[in-house]
Amino acid sequence: MKEKNVYTIPLSLLGIASLLYMGLEGSGSLVHILPLLLLIAILDLFPVRLLSGEEYSGSLAGFLILLLAYGPVPALYGILVSNVVSHLRSADFIWRKFNIFRLLSAQGKYSICLYAAHMIMERLDGTSIYVQAGAGALTFSLLYMLLAAIVKKTISGIPLLNNLVIKCKEIAVPVVLCTIIVPHFLVHLSLNYMVYETIYILLFLMLIIFFSYGYIRQVRLRRRGAEEFIRIGEMRISNRMEGHGHNVGIICEHVLELLGYPKKRRVDLINMAAIHDIGKMMLPLDILTKRGARSLSEEQQYQSHPVHSSKIVLNVSGDKKMSDWILHHHERYDGKGYPDGLQEKQIPYESRIIHMCDQLEYLMRHFEQDEEVIRRLENMSHKELDPELVSHIHTGTVAGLRQYMVYIETPGATELTSVIEPDKQQHRELSSITGGTRLLKYMGTGSLQRHEDLPSTVVYDLEILAARALVLSESFYEVLVSQGNTYEAHFYPETDWVAVVLNDITPALQYREDMHLHTLRAYRDVIRTLSHSKIDICLKSEEIVGELGEWIDEMEVNTRADVASSRTLVVQHIPEDFRLEHSKKVMSIKLAVSEAVTNLIKHAEEGKVAVYQKSGCYQIYITDHGSGIPLHELPKTILISGYSSKSSLGKGFALMYASADRIMLHTSPDGTAILLEFNEILEQAI
């Protein structure tokens, strides 16, 4: 809704009419009423501020005095003065900001109210002056309340009867004030008296204003202080969350207005809403900034933040109720929330409000369309959120809230980097294994926006794949390798464009490789010691290849029957006289080969067995392209001989260990190579 609408335009026209009327009727003697006009101006210049944010100026009393003593036209002058002063004040006395339309429509509103009050008081003429003043004040205030509510309804969509009870209570203040002050003035209506009275009231007002300003300043300071701490905390948590607390506070303030929440407790609740996440500062940074899903223990830790927050609040305020509001701000309406799993009305009303404001802020931050925000908020109704609360929020509300939101506050942002830096140092090791991730958009026009640091071949491949994703409208991922870098690209097609998430996984792969080498070295040392240098774990497959002597024979291994064939192959190259003389030795060679090839069949399915000779030493070289063997099993198989070691690898390896004179082993995710050596077998041969 616009500010200028069918309702406010007639009001402003009425305002113009009222000004014209004042001009035509003539000012009479303005001198008489000058002290009163001055009083009105002062009252409007320094209204009494209340903590709820409402401001009371006693100018209504001035209007009624003018009306009763001098008639409608001077009263209209009083209204004009009051209007101009209060509008100037709300425009911070900057002429550019002065809204003449609002002034006119306010003048219109006041004129209607004044006319009605005038009518009522004329009817009551002859009765007590107190009754007249009271009735006039009541009429004026009630009518004004009604007119203002209609304006709010047409401009911001706030329901007509919103806050009715509270507003009626508030009307009591001006009515009582006028009933006392107005007759008092009218009795002593002389110029001297008015000057004296004006100064007297002024002094009184100054005293009240002095204290109220001091008090309000302290309260503001406290709230701003808390908000600033939260903001620093949010900076530390994540740049994306900056201003979240502040925004939730603002949303809460407006939501409470819609709900008609008692004004007395509003400020407390707004403050709590602003600092609801303060407990997150107690959590380790890596949990808060983790990109993927949190592990179970991390999730538990994360879910402890309301408990931390509530403890902090309890320490600061000593108020158990307020700390409970915070404690339960992640409870869900359906009972699936935390920390206590409360449901529906078990959850404190205030916690439900904070939860909704929290979610609303999050949605408004992520979705620019107000309709989308409302759609998602309504989806949460009954599940996360109290449906009654959600029913108060509409697209108009969201649109209204947007103008108060703070998303980026540039001043101070750079200074705060020092808060984040020390933590970044600690996490450097972690971040060094994750490469850059970026989001690219493929708009379906055949070319992706260029990125200077990406190899052109990768961009070319991405374009082809993105075009395919668009045609198939299916998401998939692909690994691309170029210039020593490895990228993982995920394609998410929308209706007419494709989101491409490109991960540089080079550092992660390098990290894995480093870790693997590190582990291999550790195992090599352990196993070399345990096996008295009989087993050698090789870090690179080339180390084994370098040990190989002269090639004799080889065969492919594909099926279980090849286990027997490989034994035959190995035995047939052993000289016949050795076979007859050392049948036990031959048996142990057969056994070792049988075990090694059985492992190959079981774990890799296919591979190769080759035999070599190197100065009398018989070498059996078994390779496969399986996914490698678990090295952590090896020390166990050496220490525990016999069948008692349960693992299938164990038995086999223990037998190889017992049979062979030396074993070299290389294993990696790309495959395994084993070299079995048997000394002094082929000496007589060749």
């Binding site: 279980r560 029957a561 034994r567 079981k602 016999g642 038995k651 086999g652």
Partner: protein
């Protein structure tokens, strides 16, 4: 290649094994031999013609013998070749199945 021949004497079955017992013998053991022994109250495994057994083969033997023993049936292993016996000892098969299983 593993093969076997059965000889029935009353309630006693003698299994004459021949060839190598390795991973390749698994199917023959589990799908053919085991069901055929279901009726016998005592079983004799004759390994006289078995020249080679590896750890997979020993695994098959252990499973077969222990299954039969659990059903309270008597099992013996006899005429094991010395080279094969050496592998049995290497893997402490006599301790696992009980020394009186061998004869």
């Amino acid at each position: 290649m593993f093969t076997y021949r059965l000889e029935l004497t009353g309630q006693q079955i003698t299994v004459y094994c021949e060839g190598d017992i390795d991973i390749d013998a698994g199917d023959t053991f589990e799908e053919q031999l085991e069901p055929e022994l279901a009726e016998a109250s005592s079983v004799i495994l004759n390994l006289g013609a078995v020249q080679f057994v590896d750890s997979s083969g020993i695994g098959l033997l252990i499973k077969l013998v222990q299954d039969l023993q659990e059903q309270e049936r008597q099992v013996w292993i006899e005429q094991t070749q010395p080279e094969v016996m050496e592998v049995f000892q290497l893997l402490q098969l006599d301790e696992i199945l009980g020394k009186d299983t061998f004869r």
